[in-house]
């Protein structure tokens, strides 16, 4: 180790052992003096002179000690620490100021750290998969095409891509339709409805995931006729099997069949938190190609890029690789895009918007604090002037003021990181919010690092102005005498505060506008007519399991349910709107014209009689299914959109359609018996498309069904009633997956709700802070002008005139801020536009409303000090100070 390094350690140690060093030095100097004086006496001096000479030879004791300290320690650091200590003492004396400052800092920094964590976890960090940047998302339709059946791929495409692709070395898949398919778990404990996702056997391996116990799937699990094997999710394993590692290799009863558990998922299930946010997956099964093959488009594909392959090459390669299939089925295709894009692309703008809003709040916090420090600095001008007079350099005073500010901001940021910790925890347990990776949110080192950077920036932003203002001794005139005389405040001081306040108002205005627009969008979405009535509608998942005749079973169930007190209407469907998504093609049968000419894709639901009524969807023409609609005469109910497209300006009732999905090559011809209203199948944000309904009496193939009950009963009460009335029919029916239709609809709006909640909160904080700032600067200037106002009132100015002038000054500041904010918001509205629904980003009414609100509030903020000013007693004011 070099002597320089020793020296550095020595210096650092000396900072902490200063007292010991001082004591040693003191003793050595004492010894030095004594010996020196004695030697002087020996050489013949008188004792008095000997001591005096000794002191002269040794030198000024204070200087020696100062030099010693400088040499042994790190002077600037010690200086900084002592400045901090000084600041601490000052702030402790000024409790009110310090409390306000710390609270606004904690809120500002806390919010920003939280939002950064969110952005970092969801957007900036790579997905939590192995080689996440080399994963490719493959869809059949254009990625913008939003029906699930349109964008998923068929097994043939998958197999062909695996064989022929020259840019991907591995392709895995999962079955997104399986999210809607539940099973009945019986055996130990109460029967339970569980949700299983089908994945290709190598998917978890490709994603770099490791099982907690046992294994994931093997190629033999995916073979046709392989016995069903399952991997348990971590929550199910804990909840249902008491976290027993011995479960691996044992069997559980699924739909009445003994099924082997081969593994347990890790506690952090990266797959489901990315692809199924807000869905509780209970177990995974292996996709068996030959079973899925006849189902058409049923899989999402995830590929892994070969070394050196580029996005461009992939885009060109994938359609070529499935050329053979495209020759006979030209509607099949393969588009590749980076996985990250697909999963998080739609979140980019909302999160950037959130980030910007949070930054605005922090800026307002910084300006506000800057204003408070300026006001406070005013009372310290004497202290500063004294220091300058005693020879302190400008740099020295600036560094001290900045240090004070930094100390304050550091303390505020520390509180802020506690606030952030709370917020982050709050967000990470929002399991019903559909934002991928939300559960991965935590206060990590990146977030804390960001806090430190924020802290430094804030300290500079709010400390720079006061530091500059108060360190320049000359610009202040002669503060020593000025303050002593109690003259009115310097004009430039209130000018810098005014600038800060104007900026605050501008930022608050733009947040207020954004928040209003977001709230309006949410309200518009809540008002959207979904085509069914989600309130007082409860969905209960029922899995008939191995029943011989599903429709008989379900009809028997419906009879019992409809007889329950409190139940108004009930029906069964395999495909709840919003939650489930599946589409088929169908063609109008027109004599003399070949099929395919006016073919339409449409959502399909298989339903019981009475379901359409139970949903609250209006029947516009014809009739609903009845129990008597048997297989012999195939019937279909279509929605208005489909009717208009197939038979514009004509009556659809009695017409015929061909559905190729049913009945092989030639398809099956169905007769239209009813036309019903459109339903928004993908939630309120997506317009309604084509739909048709088939009766379960004719096509009872679904594995899972939902009992839809229109009732005013709460979910728990209904479930209890159902359990009682259905027990004789089916003693092991779980009835554990009951949810109100409203919660299903709400989930599609969950991320928007969260965004609105956050932005609304930001706007409220921003407006409050801006008004406090406005109030602060006006009330400060009033207090500084007490004498002036007193003189004017002594000369005859009425209290009304004084009030008006002060309110006028407030209004001018607010107006400048509002104009600035208005311009900025209009220019920056781009970011907002994509997040709005049913309202324009430059909706005049919103701007007018926000302007008026802020304007009125700012008059209020100015009125309080104005009233105070108007009550100034001239005699008192002139005598004051």
């Amino acid at each position: 180790m070099g002597s320089n390094l020793y020296r550095l350690f020595g210096r650092i140690r000396a900072i902490f052992a200063g007292r010991q060093f001082d004591a040693d030095l003191e003793e050595e100097m004492g010894h030095h003096l004594q010996e020196l004086a004695e030697d002087n006496i020996k050489s013949g001096m008188a004792p008095d002179e000997a001591w005096t000479r000794a002191r002269v030879s040794l030198g000024n004791a204070a200087q020696i000690k100062e030099l010693h300290r400088e040499v042994r320690g790190i002077p600037w650091f010690e200086q900084w620490i002592s400045d901090l200590r000084y600041a601490f003492r000052l702030f402790r004396k000024d409790r009110a100021f310090t409390t306000v400052a710390l609270v606004i800092l904690a809120v500002g920094v806390g919010l920003n750290t939280t939002v950064f964590s969110l952005v970092n976890t969801v957007l900036l960090r790579p997905l939590p998969f192995a080689q996440a940047d080399r994963l490719v998302w493959i869809t059949n339709g254009q990625p913008t095409d939003n029906t699930l059946s349109g964008i998923t791929s068929q097994v043939d495409t998958w197999e062909r891509l695996q064989k022929e692709s020259r840019t991907l070395d591995r392709i895995e898949a999962y079955n997104p339709f399986s999210v809607l398919q539940t099973f009945r778990l019986t055996g130990t404990g109460d029967p339970q409805t569980i949700l299983a996702i089908g994945v290709s056997h190598g998917l978890f391996g490709l994603l770099g995931m490791k099982p907690k116990y046992g294994r994931f799937f093997l190629p033999e699990d995916a073979l046709k006729n392989a016995p069903l094997r399952v991997v348990l999710s971590h929550p199910l394993w804990v909840r249902r099997f008491g976290a027993d590692p011995g479960i691996v290799g044992r069997t559980v009863q699924i739909n009445g069949a003994a099924t082997e558990v081969v593994g347990v998922m890790p506690p952090a299930d990266a797959f489901s938190s990315v692809f199924f946010p807000a869905v509780e997956v209970d177990l995974y099964t292996a996709v068996q190609n030959d079973i899925i093959r006849p189902e058409g488009n049923a899989l999402y594909l995830i590929g892994h890029m070969k070394p050196g392959a580029t996005q461009k090459q992939i885009e060109a390669d994938l359609p070529l690789a499935i050329d053979e299939i495209r020759k006979t089925q030209p509607w099949i295709n393969a588009y590749g895009q980076p996985l990250h894009n697909w999963v998080l692309g739609s979140l980019k703008k909302p999160l950037l918007f959130l980030w910007t809003s949070a930054a605005f709040v922090l800026a307002i916090v910084g300006f506000n604090l800057g204003g408070l420090l300026l006001a406070r600095g005013r009372t310290r001008r004497r202290e500063m002037a004294l220091r300058v007079a005693l020879g302190a350099s400008r740099a020295r005073i600036m560094s001290q003021l900045l240090t004070e500010c930094l100390g304050l901001v550091m303390a505020g940021s520390m509180l802020g990181s506690f606030v952030a910790w709370g917020f982050i925890h709050y967000l990470s347990v929002r399991t019903a919010v559909q934002i991928p990776l939300l559960q991965y949110l935590k206060l990590d080192s990146a977030a804390l690092g960001y806090t430190v950077i924020l802290c430094l920036i804030t300290a500079v932003v709010c400390g720079a102005a006061p530091a500059w203002r108060f360190s320049g001794g000359r610009q202040m005139g002669n503060p020593l005498s000025e303050v002593a005389r109690g003259a009115s405040s310097g004009p430039s001081l209130s000018r810098s505060r005014s600038v800060l306040v104007i900026l605050e108002v501008a930022l608050a205005f733009s947040l207020a506008v954004s928040a209003t627009l977001m709230v309006m969008s949410l309200q518009n979405l809540l008002k959207v007519d979904l085509g069914f009535q989600p309130s007082n509608l409860i969905a209960v998942r029922v899995d008939p399991g191995d029943q011989d005749s599903q429709s008989n079973y379900l009809e028997a169930m419906l009879d019992r349910v409809r007889a329950l007190p409190g139940v108004e209407r009930a029906g069964v469907t395999d495909c709840i709107p919003v939650e489930r998504d599946r589409g088929w093609y169908l063609f109008p049968v027109i004599p003399g014209k070949p099929d395919g000419e006016r073919g339409q894709g449409a959502h399909v639901r298989i339903v019981s009689s009475g379901l359409i009524g139970a949903m609250g969807t209006p029947i516009l023409a014809g009739r609903d299914f009845t129990r008597g609609d048997e297989k012999a005469s195939p019937k279909v109910v279509i929605n208005q959109s489909l009717a208009r497209k197939m038979w514009p300006d004509e009556d659809a009732i009695g017409r015929q359609v061909n559905i190729p999905e049913i009945g092989g090559e030639k398809g099956t011809v169905f007769t239209v018996i009813g036309v019903v209203g459109n339903v928004r199948s993908s939630g309120p944000e997506m317009p309604a498309g084509n739909e048709f309904y088939l009766t379960m009496n004719q096509y009872p193939w679904a594995v899972s069904w939902d009992l839809m009950v229109r009732t005013k009963l709460p979910v728990a009460a209904l479930t209890a009633g159902l359990r009682q009335t259905l027990a004789p029919l089916d003693p092991t029916l779980p009835l554990t997956k009951a949810r109100s239709m409203q919660t299903i609809v709400d989930r599609t709006l969950s991320s928007r709700r969260l965004l609105v909640f956050l932005v609304g909160g930001f706007a409220a904080i921003a407006i409050t802070l801006a008004l406090i700032g406005l109030y602060g600067v006006i009330s400060y200037s009033v207090s500084q002008q007490t004498r002036e106002i007193g003189i004017r009132m002594a000369l005859g100015a009425s209290s009304g005139i004084v009030q008006r002038q002060i309110v006028y000054r407030t209004v001018v500041l607010a107006l400048i801020g509002l104009v600035l904010g208005l311009t900025g918001t209009l220019l920056g509205g781009q970011l907002l536009r994509s997040m709005l629904y049913g309202v324009s980003s430059n909706d005049a009414a919103v701007y007018v409303e926000a302007t008026l609100t802020l304007f009125v509030c700012s008059i209020g903020a100015g009125y309080l000090p104005a009233r105070r000013a108007s009550r100034i007693d001239p005699a008192m004011a002139l005598r004051a100070e």
């Binding site: 060093f21 010894h31 004695e38 020696i64 010693h68 040499v71």
Partner: protein, 111 residues
């Protein structure tokens, strides 16, 4: 040469090291007295500055310190040179002399 010389920056450290190397362990006052004796009246030594030099050398581990008792039976802090201090002294002495030579040669050439 009547006026006394101020020490060049850094040279005090060299003098202290040299003194400790040739005289063995000494206390602060002893070192100061020794330097003044050798330098005679041609040198201004602000004796107190010796303590800054000593702490600097201590932190570089070129010298060590230990409390002991002086010849007058007083408690005093004794400093002694370390092995790395001797190496440093040799290096510094050499570069000091080289520097002095160079300065002298340049000055002579200018005459």
């Amino acid at each position: 040469m009547k006026e006394k010389l101020d020490l060049l920056p850094g040279s005090l450290d060299l003098l202290v090291l040299h003194t400790l190397s040739s005289m063995g362990p000494m206390h602060g006052y002893g070192i100061a007295r020794r330097i003044e004796q050798v330098g005679g009246d041609r040198l201004i030594l602000n004796q107190g500055t010796i303590y800054a030099a000593l702490v600097r050398l201590l932190q570089s581990k070129w010298i060590e310190a230990e409390w002991g008792t002086s010849e007058n039976n007083r408690k005093a802090r004794y400093y002694s040179i370390t092995a790395s201090g001797r190496r440093q002294l040799a290096d510094e002495t050499e570069s000091w002399q080289r520097m002095a030579d160079v300065v002298q040669r340049v000055l002579k050439a200018a005459e």
